[in-house]
């Protein structure tokens, strides 16, 4: 199967112009990078809309775009659960209840918040795990990008890897977090503009939404599902057998909606860092809320074309097919690539390809800019060279360390990318394992923010045990039809889940509950070493209520939150 594109001069021109702007932004920001705070925290000066778009853009990496379009094909509109019951409620919760503590505590990172709230060892555990995880994620993203450029554009793998790493390094080295954030905003617009033609053309091709529903009915029925199983969200979640995702409503609700999404959106520093860069508490709280509005419409941009692809695949006259892997199974992640190829002529094709490249690179830049902050503040400044009395030379020194961490991060990412190319399965495995870190972390941070009794020893043990239980659950269960130990069942085959997704949900649920139970239990067994005064601004009950009265009503977080929740309810009902 030929997955290659033939790009013409105009496509390359679009690409070159885009990257000229990317590097130009880094260059323009260079002169503002005077100290570590400007470089690693963007000087806490971002307007809410910029931080908000960057907030969702960080997550809208190319792996996400490709994966979600593929999931659209595999699971249909059920994929929107990742957005409407997953991301959005978690983003609202972060904004309303958690952001005041993250931002108000003046912590510069999530691990630093943990240090302030709990103790040094819990921070150390979290910081080191996070640093390793982000670098690996960045490497996997780089590897995927280089593979894509090789297969689709016919470029040399090594050259693609080095070139993309060089571009990312250039603009993050020059402009730090500000540069990463501004480029994420740029990337957000190019993704929307680049993919919009695909949505319009593919829907028009099958006769609009109604045409799509009608053409899907026979295809889906032949798979043994109800005719509208691909175009509804909650209707068939009464039993795992009725819907293609293989999960019941409570699994979706607890696993995806609560544990996975809250774990990801509320505790992942990569994401939270964007809101922490905002210019005021109100702006920091509004960041996830402003991001939530475009976020809830992204399914139409990336999931709906995936559903259309299912129809195209089953309509012989369309000449649409997905490439196959060695085992002869379709590679679902290539859905969006094949759609670009199917519909776009030279010109807009360049825009679409640029959008994908852009999202790969901003994914890397996001990881690198989170890594250098955690490295500089939570590892280097805490364990290697603490702050001295000389503030001016400290500023210079930590800026230098931040910059070196950026270079180091990119180099290790390249190494990780080559590891991924040698041992693809091991990287998949590590990624699965690291996706488990967030679930216990959410339990620990949540208890820390809302229960002043939670202690450091308890949090540390809870975090560790939660992670251990996640591993254990992954080792004892497996998705049906799994042929590799990477997917689970490497200890024993205790339970089989219908699909991998269901296994992931339940892993997270077990990890989070274990961590919560152990933290609560041990908190009662140990004494709280922090006084109420030390916990002020870190725990809900000990922090003065935020007063929003000075803010005009239309700018208040509560107003925005109501708008967001109303909109998402309307969408849920429309596509029930």
């Amino acid at each position: 199967m030929n997955t290659g594109f033939v790009l013409s001069w105009i496509d390359y021109l679009v690409m070159i112009i885009y990257f000229a702007f990317v590097l130009g932004i880094g260059w323009a920001l260079k002169r503002y990078m005077k100290d570590a705070s400007a470089f690693l925290e963007a000087g806490r000066a971002m307007p809410a809309w910029v931080a908000g778009l960057a907030f969702i853009s960080t997550n809208l990496g190319a792996l996400e775009v490709m994966g979600m379009t593929g999931s659209g094909l595999k699971y249909g509109m059920l994929t929107t659960h990742f957005y409407w019951v997953g991301a959005i409620p978690a983003m609202v919760f972060l904004a309303m209840f958690m952001m005041p503590f993250y931002y108000g505590s003046k912590a510069r990172s999530v691990p630093e918040y943990i240090k302030l709230r709990y103790d040094e060892k819990t921070r150390g555990l979290n910081a080191i795990l996070f640093a390793v995880m982000t670098i690996l994620a960045s490497g996997i993203s780089m590897y995927a990008l280089a593979i894509l450029m090789e297969k689709v554009l016919g470029w040399n793998f090594h050259l693609s890897l080095i070139l993309s790493a060089a571009i990312v390094l250039a603009y993050t080295y020059l402009g730090g977090l500000s540069s990463a954030i501004y480029n994420e905003v740029l990337q957000f617009f190019i993704i929307v503009v680049g993919l919009l033609p695909i949505v319009i053309l593919s829907l028009k091709d099958v006769g609009g939404w109604h045409g799509l529903q009608q053409s899907l009915a026979p295809i889906v029925s032949s798979k043994g599902f109800a005719p509208d199983a691909w175009t509804t969200t909650w209707k068939y979640t009464g039993s795992a057998k009725l819907n293609p995702m293989g999960v019941e409503w409570y699994g979706i609700f607890a696993g995806l909606g609560f544990v996975l999404s809250f774990g990801y959106w509320c505790t992942n520093f990569l994401i939270v860092q964007r809101a922490m860069s905002a210019k005021s508490t109100t702006a920091a709280r509004n960041t996830p809320l402003i991001g939530a509005i475009p976020k809830m419409f992204i399914p139409f941009l990336i999931i709906v074309p995936g559903i259309v692809a299912l129809v195209l695949m089953n309509t012989p006259g369309k000449g649409f097919a997905l490439p196959l892997n060695e085992a002869g199974q379709p590679i679902y992640d290539y859905t969006i690539i094949m759609l670009l190829k199917q519909y776009l002529p030279a010109g807009v094709l360049g825009l679409g390809v640029t959008a994908l490249l852009a999202s790969f690179m901003s994914g890397m830049a996001g990881n690198v800019s989170a890594f250098n902050t955690v490295w500089t503040y939570d590892i280097y400044q805490s364990y290697i060279r603490p702050v001295t009395k000389d503030k001016a030379s400290d500023d210079k020194h930590y800026l230098f360390v931040g910059r070196m961490a950026t270079i180091f991060g990119v180099i290790v990412s390249i190494a990780a990318a080559y590891l991924a190319s040698l041992f693809g399965n091991i990287m998949d495995f590590l990624q699965t394992i690291f996706s488990m870190i967030n679930a216990p972390l959410f339990a620990v941070i949540f208890l820390g923010m809302f229960w002043k009794r939670a202690t450091g020893h308890a949090a540390f043990t809870g975090l560790l045990m939660g992670f251990f239980v996640a591993l254990l659950h992954h080792g004892l269960t497996f998705p049906e039809g799994a042929n590799t130990l990477v997917k689970g069942g490497w200890i024993a085959h205790l339970h089989a889940y219908p699909v991998e997704m269901a296994q992931n949900f339940w892993t997270a649920i077990f990890a989070c509950s274990t961590s919560a139970i152990i933290t609560v239990f041990l908190s009662f067994m140990t004494t709280q070493k922090k006084s109420d005064n030390e916990l002020k601004g870190l725990v809900y009950a000990l922090t003065p209520k935020l007063n929003e009265e000075a803010v005009p009503w239309y700018n208040r977080s509560s107003t925005l939150a109501i708008i967001v929740l109303t909109l998402v309810s309307i969408l849920t009902i429309l596509f029930w």
Binding site: I17, S178, V185, F189, Y343, G347
Partner: protein, 70 residues
């Protein structure tokens, strides 16, 4: 910090808009080229759309600069 991001966004999409509008107009008679896109000249339409986005961003950037200066 420092720069107003609306300015580069506006500039970039204005350039993209002009580029694709002109390209779409020049290739409007090439039926073979637009066969995959169901006979629609997507370059022309996307170009015009981006031009609007770009100009709106530039106007917004101009006004926020003005309000900052005064």
């Amino acid at each position: 910090m420092g720069i107003d991001i609306k300015l580069p966004i506006g500039l970039m999409f204005t350039i993209f808009g002009l580029l694709l509008t002109v390209f779409g107009f020049a290739t409007r008679l090439d039926a073979g080229m637009y066969k995959p896109s169901l006979g629609i000249n997507v370059n022309l339409w996307s170009g015009l759309g981006m031009l609007v986005l770009g100009v709106v961003m530039l106007v917004l950037a101009f006004f926020s600069r003005k309000s900052k200066a005064s």
